[in-house]
Subunit: 140 residues, 2 copies
Amino acid sequence: MSTQMNATLSERGSTDEVENGAVLMPKFGSDGLLTAVTIDAVSSKVLMVAHMNKEALIKTIETNEAWYYSRSRSALWRKGETSGQIQKIREIQVDCDQDALVLIVDVGGDGGCCHTGRSSCFYRRIDGIDDNNRIKLSRI
Amino acid sequence: MSTQMNATLSERGSTDEVENGAVLMPKFGSDGLLTAVTIDAVSSKVLMVAHMNKEALIKTIETNEAWYYSRSRSALWRKGETSGQIQKIREIQVDCDQDALVLIVDVGGDGGCCHTGRSSCFYRRIDGIDDNNRIKLSRI
């Protein structure tokens, strides 16, 4: 992927331009965010689901490293800045209506992702229902 | 995964219960939705990113087929009901703070997913910047 600077986000076009065109014209929600799904390039596992505002998306494209917008902290967030778990971008994919991205990344530092210390944020699966009809989880 | 009926969603607990516990206590956003990322069990590719309200999540768990909530149509949505592209659930994963799910699915019908006719909604990647600083897309 090119890492040229000064990328600009195009305005939304027609449905045909959005779905079949060759220009990124992303749809940010009413909260100014779109969804990013981050995949480990080596394992192909989902590492995390996070959000980007326009600034985070531009920074990600221009620096080739994943930047997100933290909804809890209301702040731009360079993933791995303190942990060293920098996410180097291999590829950014966009979906049909351009409101979600998939980031294929190589993870720096110790290779982890989750703030709990696990390598992926997805470390549990739904595993049936208990006697009180509660939905049980087990470790993957 | 169990397909027992009458699953109920538990109230949110402490951070420790949410992150390390063995009970699903999902966090729905202010719009009543959480994010679901759907992965093809065979190819391991991301098929789509969509949203679930409480009813969609319960129906997905109880029927072992993917149900979503369509934000554009403001309606519950059984994926594949008209197209035959039913998503049979192999596994549902939940992330650390329980506001996102990964669905590992086997796709019925012709095996497709996207309303545009492509097998996945993610059929384009970001591919550099043009002379007007527009962000270019190319087919995957």
